[in-house]
């Protein structure tokens, strides 16, 4: 019986560990790679930072001195093989050493290699420097040569993202909180039908609105401005925000609010002094949700912010990088991690609220 229980625990934790590893490897690989030298990223996997066996040179010979003829079968250091086989490397029968021909037939040399445990730990901040900086950056390469390249100026995109995300989070929450309060605690004609409309709009895909709103914006000269994006995120997030906040605010204790009304407080005072402070958990949940959503949004920014590079947000810049520098992994990894930095911080510090927001039923249109 006890035996069975132990295997159960082992099975559960083993399976869980496997899943966690599989789920973490993608992010971990990106994170580690972003700190590796650019040549390292291109030539070896990021897992080489972990101890691994690698062939390392012990001694070299000049084939001419050994009297080897590359056009026939050669015998060196106890192994035999043709030039092609030697190019691939031939292991000695006991597997401890390997003989490899480096270079071409005429000028090459023969290396005797041994397998050793090693780690590749050449970490650098150059990648981040190159991605963040607005100016030219000088990169020192592995061979000591220096190269000057223009920085990708992600710092600007980062500021743009902040400028987009903060108002796009606060404005809809404020408007939604007022509305949710009115729906929950005030009586007015049309209350029910208007709320039903909000529930109906919860799942309306935002694609439906992009073309008409873009037309309105071009009439108002708003295209390509932050204001356009703030308003768009406000409009698209408002239904969910009102719905979630209503669910919370309508469950506030009736006695507390009623006694305030009896004391002669106006609805506005009750709202600001009582309802808002009491709703902080719900407000925080939605704020995190909306912030992550706006920060990570690509479509709305793409449509309304347009092509002016100085107004692009991080997701746009990162997508541009994948298009233009698809193989420059040192840029892509550092850039991607930079865009994830703030969401991850928010996520780790406020995970509790985020989870609560999700549990409150977050279906976004």
């Amino acid at each position: 019986m006890k035996q069975q229980k132990w295997t159960g625990v082992l099975l559960v934790n083993g399976a869980l560990l496997l899943l966690v590893i599989v789920w973490s490897i993608p992010t971990l690989g990106l994170f580690i790679s972003s700190f590796r030298e650019r040549t390292d990223i291109q030539s070896s996997g990021w897992w080489n930072i972990f101890p691994h066996r690698q062939w390392e040179m012990v001694s070299t010979y000049d084939p001419k001195q050994l009297g080897l003829d590359p056009n026939s079968v050669m015998s060196v250091e106890g192994v035999q093989g043709t030039f092609e086989q030697l190019r691939e490397g031939i292991q000695s029968p006991d597997g401890k050493t390997r003989v490899t021909w480096i270079g071409n037939k005429r000028l090459g040399k023969v290396e005797v290699q041994k397998q050793v445990w090693t780690v590749t730990w050449d970490f650098t901040l150059d990648n981040y420097n190159e991605v963040i900086s607005a100016r030219n950056v000088t990169i020192t390469k592995a061979d000591g040569s220096v190269e000057t390249i223009p920085g990708q100026n992600m710092q600007q995109a980062f500021l743009n993202s902040l400028g987009v995300a903060i108002p796009s989070t606060i404005i809809p929450i404020m408007i939604a909180a007022f509305a949710a309060y009115a729906f929950a605690w005030m009586n007015f004609p049309g209350r029910r039908i208007l709320f039903i409309m909000i529930v109906g709009l919860l799942v309306v895909p935002l694609q439906i609105a992009l073309v008409p709103i873009l037309r309105d914006y071009s009439r108002l000269g708003l295209n390509g401005t932050f204001l356009a994006v703030w308003l768009a995120h406000t409009g698209f997030g408002l239904a969910l925000a009102t719905y979630l906040l209503f669910n919370y605010i309508s469950t506030l204790p009736r006695e507390t609010l009623e006694s305030a009304f009896i004391d002669g407080a106006s609805p506005f005072v009750v709202f600001t002094r009582l309802v808002l402070p009491l709703s902080v958990p719900a407000l925080a949940s939605f704020a995190i949700f909306q912030f992550l959503w706006v920060w990570n949004d690509y479509l709305v920014a793409l449509v309304f912010l347009g092509v002016d590079p100085s107004y692009k947000v991080v997701t746009q810049r990162l997508a541009d990088l994948t298009g233009t520098f698809g193989n420059d992994w040192q840029l892509l990894t550092a850039g991607a991690f930079l865009t994830m930095l703030l969401p991850l911080l928010v996520f780790f510090s406020l995970q509790r609220f985020f989870v609560r927001g999700l549990l409150a039923g977050s279906v976004k249109g």
Binding site: A15, G163, I170, W185, L201, I213, P343
Partner: protein, 387 residues
Amino acid sequence: MTQLVAVEERQLSVVARFVAWIGRMFLAVIIPLIAFMVIYTGFIFLRDSAAPRWLMALVAIVWGVGGVTLLYWVFNGIVERLPGQWTQRLQPFVFVGPAIAILFWYLAFPVARTFWLSLFGRDGPPQGASLIGALQSNAFVGFNNYVSLFTERLLQEAIRNNLMWIVFGSTLSVVMGLLVAVLSDRSRFERVSKSLIFLPMAISFVGASVIWNFIYEVRPIESPQIGVLNAIMVPLFGTTHAWDKWIQIVPWNNLFLILIVIWLQTGYSMVLFSAALKGIPEEILEAARVDGANEIQSFFRIMIPYILGTIITVWTTIIIFTLKIFDVVWVMTGGQFGTHVIATQFYRQSFTARNSGVGSAIAIVLLIAVIPVMVYNLRQFRRQEAF
């Protein structure tokens, strides 16, 4: 107290009711309008100034957020100074009006406007034409846009792919989420493991695309692989099996994209299932155990039925989500190699090809696809009778 107001409303004269409605509509429209004007003016001013970017961003934030707050405060002040009755009649609309007006502008009207656009050719109805004039113009094509959507390969491929997204993406997200929730519920490492599985939820699709592109990266077989997938594949099967080759294998290359979203979404379903599982009364599980049910039996016979409601909710949420999937496909392939989905076709038609007629028709198709969920939501809402 609130009851009184409602009764009073019915006793009002027609004139007073009319004035009240005018006032309410006025408030609902005027507050957002003024807010918009205030922010807009400030914005133009900021845009034309030469201040450093961070300062502009800061001022813009204060301006935008402060402006909206101030406006509520001012209008509430005005309404509160009206005679008592009128305050009660109008005040709710100071609170609820802006939200309703914005929702109308951004979601409700666009449904009708997009449908209207979808009946016209690539440039929409002629400028300045009246309703009837537009219908009589050459630009009016009726339902031809919809016909061409379904007869040309354009949307057929996208719909097939979206179905794959729904079948594989949402199902696997739900299954994996359930698996993690059940496993972590029995583990001492619940918090850590849930956090790590949940973490991708914070990552953008664009970021996730970079991450997975790196995993799918393929190198010539003789040189060392730098992508995890091929680093595993090459020693095991002696051949590179990733993106580069798979990209040609339509439609299975979609699975490579779907995998990314499963990775992102499992955390979401896990959190909801985990909470639902904790809601199962311990006595039921205990009773089943006493009756000799093993773990697998109690999982399928008790847990699954008990959290069925949550499973349906999560499933529909992820289905809606995958229906609108855009970023991943757009960044990874741009819709090439037979990976277009409805949302990427929408974007391509509306903004790259600038064919607003076809683009709008696609958006309407997308809306029709979510209508069952909308109806379900409304039914649930009615049943709850929260009002």
